[in-house]
């Protein structure tokens, strides 16, 4: 709690509460059988995007994955437009064309969500390149999963960022499984951040359930990138409480004990305990925040439910844009 001011800590904490609450509500909606498609919950992983995005400017960019709700919310996305997207409505971020795995909030410089694991990495390098070429001092954060580090796209994209010294940070939300495959199976390294050694860029492994630890690592990396110091690979170790997606109980490849054990290290509880102890926040403040989040979510669900579906007449719009 040295370097990071209490306003920032509070901001991070609120982001975490917002993500958890949104994810819980999305699951609840999904379980009613109303939401189409897949939901990949990030519950358990909230500390990572919350801490990272707290150090980004509005004009900085992020990219994310199929498990991106948390990242998107951390960058400032609105619940109503997110929920509407989950509902596949015209008022959603993608006008119902994308869905949970593809949310793009271009107005927040949140450039998607690809459902192809690893594919965001070269794109993120390109975003950082575009900024650098225009002399914009914007930083790009590319969130990926742990298994994504196996992909050719990861290797090629990080490789490019390294040689062009691009202002991009690759944040591995290391929940220790790619679907059912444990990180220990698909990677023989002590720590995944050692993959950075193949590119000559800094790599650091951090407790992804410790908001402050992440904040320290992330703010340093963001700072470095902004000062033309090049890319960083951050490996933040965490855990997802649910299965791979809501259709997967998540227990054929993980023991109940393992899941319970991780829940004892819940990032929100840990951080809350520390913030309360340090008097950064009070219990009643938290209750108020949660109540307000819940009201916002009620409204978001209402908004989503009442919003119109996309019109069939518009089905083929925006495949191309009008020629320049």
């Amino acid at each position: 709690m040295q370097k990071i001011g209490s306003e920032k800590l509070k901001e991070i904490f609120i982001k975490m509460l917002r993500i958890r609450a949104f994810e819980e509500r999305a699951i609840a909606e999904y379980r009613k059988g109303i939401l189409p498609g897949f939901i990949h919950s990030s519950i358990g992983q909230e500390a990572i995007p919350s801490s990272v995005c707290a150090f980004l400017r509005d004009d900085d960019y992020i990219l994310t994955t199929h498990r991106g709700h948390g990242d998107i919310i951390a960058k400032g996305a609105k619940f109503d437009k997110m929920m509407a997207e989950l509902y596949a409505k015209e008022t959603g971020y993608n006008k119902g064309r994308g869905g949970s795995m593809h949310i793009v909030a271009a107005d927040l410089n949140m450039l998607g969500a690809t459902a192809i694991v690893g594919a965001g990495v070269p794109i993120a390098s390109g975003v950082a390149l575009g900024c650098k070429m225009q002399n914009l001092d914007r930083v790009t954060v590319c969130f990926t999963g742990d298994a994504a580090t196996c992909t050719g796209a990861f290797h090629e994209g990080v490789g490019l960022a390294a040689i062009w010294n691009l202002p991009v940070i690759f944040v591995v939300e290391n929940n220790q499984y790619g679907m059912s495959t444990p990180v220990k199976y698909y990677c023989k390294l002590e720590q995944l951040s050692d993959r950075a050694k193949a590119y000559g860029i800094p790599g650091v492994t951090v407790d992804g359930n410790d908001a402050e630890a992440i904040a320290n690592v992330a703010s340093e990396a963001i700072d470095r990138a902004r000062k033309d110091g090049g890319p960083t690979l951050i490996d933040a170790i965490t855990y997802r409480y649910y299965g791979h997606h809501m259709g997967d109980p998540g227990t054929s490849y993980r023991t109940k004990e393992e899941i319970e054990e991780w829940k004892r290290h819940d990032p929100i509880e840990r951080f809350q305990g520390r913030l309360l102890k340090a008097k950064v926040i009070t219990k009643s403040e938290i209750q108020e925040i949660q109540a307000s989040i819940n009201r916002e979510l009620d409204e978001a669900v209402k908004f989503a439910m009442e919003s119109p579906e996309p019109r069939i007449e518009d089905a083929l719009n925006n495949i191309y844009c009008p020629s320049a």
Partner: protein
């Protein structure tokens, strides 16, 4: 005869071939405990163990490339690419390496491998999990492309694919896994490269495969009631294509409709249309009709997705159009 689902039929084919031939093995992402995204490989890990039911890293080009290497030295890999959408990551291996390897060596080696994958929409799975990309594969010499529509065909064709000494791309459909149909207990095989007339008819030849075959058969029932008789042909193997069965049917019916779930432009229907326009144009009494997905990425919203993908009504409308009959208002096709 007992009924099996399409999923079970594929699984049974895998199990039987793994049992029969020790050189057969499976590799792919999350095919072991997880049993694949659609649970096709369930139970195989227990019976055959981790050596032969191999989880890979998350790396499609490694899966395809490793299958090729292993095939070159005496094993018979069956690789799984979880969604055909992800197979775009493996196309160098599949098109440049696997498809060309035998030819490149002047015939000194063989490449006995199968790549199982699945495609298709209808599940609101979004634009990276819903495509029908078979046309890409059918353009590449050296590959065999199989797309079964029924549990019976899925089992018989997969067994033949595994025993074939050529690389076979075996494309399942996520919307078919729960469909069931008769599958004999006794072993059987279905030869690659042979179409099947799934329904006899006299007015229109409808060529359809994979899930579109089911839609077409249903549409055919409705059409029958209105005096339009569809002869429905399932090519089953798209490459090499059984042209004769199609041409013979068109000779009889003088009308051709092609139904598939892939985008219309550049879809495999274009190839069938072109073959008939080259070799059977004199048989035709009407324009060729392609019923296919609109040229669009697959939208997440289910209503839009429904709109973009071809359905029974599109087939029915197409059939009325081809025969020049008016669509009865009661059909409410809009």
């Amino acid at each position: 005869m007992r009924d099996l689902t399409y999923r079970e039929a594929v699984r049974e084919a895998l199990g039987e071939e793994l049992r029969r031939d020790k050189s057969v093995f499976l590799l792919g992402e999350d095919i072991a405990e997880y049993s694949g995204a659609y649970k096709v490989t369930q139970g195989l890990l227990e019976e055959f163990g981790r050596e032969r039911i191999r989880n890979t890293n998350l790396a499609e080009s490694a899966i395809a490339g490793a299958a090729l290497g292993a095939a070159l030295v005496g094993t018979r890999p069956v690789a799984e690419i979880m969604y055909i959408d992800f197979s775009l990551l493996a196309l160098d291996q599949i098109f440049n390496q696997i498809a060309k390897f035998r030819y490149m060596t002047g015939g000194m080696v063989k490449v006995p491998l199968v790549i199982r994958t699945q495609g298709g929409g209808g599940k609101a799975a979004g634009l990276h999990h819903s495509q029908s990309l078979e046309a890409l594969y059918t353009h590449i010499p050296g590959l065999i492309v199989v797309m079964p529509s029924t549990p019976y065909d899925a089992k018989g064709l997969l067994k033949s694919s595994i025993r074939d000494d050529n690389p076979v791309i075996f494309i399942e459909h996520k919307g078919l896994y729960n469909e069931s149909g008769p599958v004999p207990e006794e072993e059987y095989m279905i030869p690659l490269g042979k179409a099947e007339v799934k329904r006899q008819g006299k007015d229109i030849t409808a060529v359809a495969y994979s899930k579109s075959l089911l839609l077409t058969l249903k549409a055919a029932e409705t059409l029958e009631k209105y005096g339009i008789s569809l002869e429905v042909i399932d090519p089953r193997t798209l490459k090499p294509l059984d042209q004769d069965t199609i041409l013979n049917s068109v000779e009889k019916t003088s009308r051709l409709m092609i139904v598939h779930e892939a985008c219309k432009t550049g879809g495999f229907g274009a190839e069938i249309a072109a073959i008939v326009a080259e070799k059977g144009i004199d048989y035709l009494d009407a324009p060729i009709k392609r019923v296919a997905a609109l040229d669009s990425p697959i939208p997440f919203n289910p209503r839009l997705e429904d709109y973009v993908l071809p359905n029974e009504n599109d087939i029915i409308k197409g059939a009325f159009e081809l025969t020049g009959k008016e669509i009865p208002a009661e059909l409410k096709l809009g």
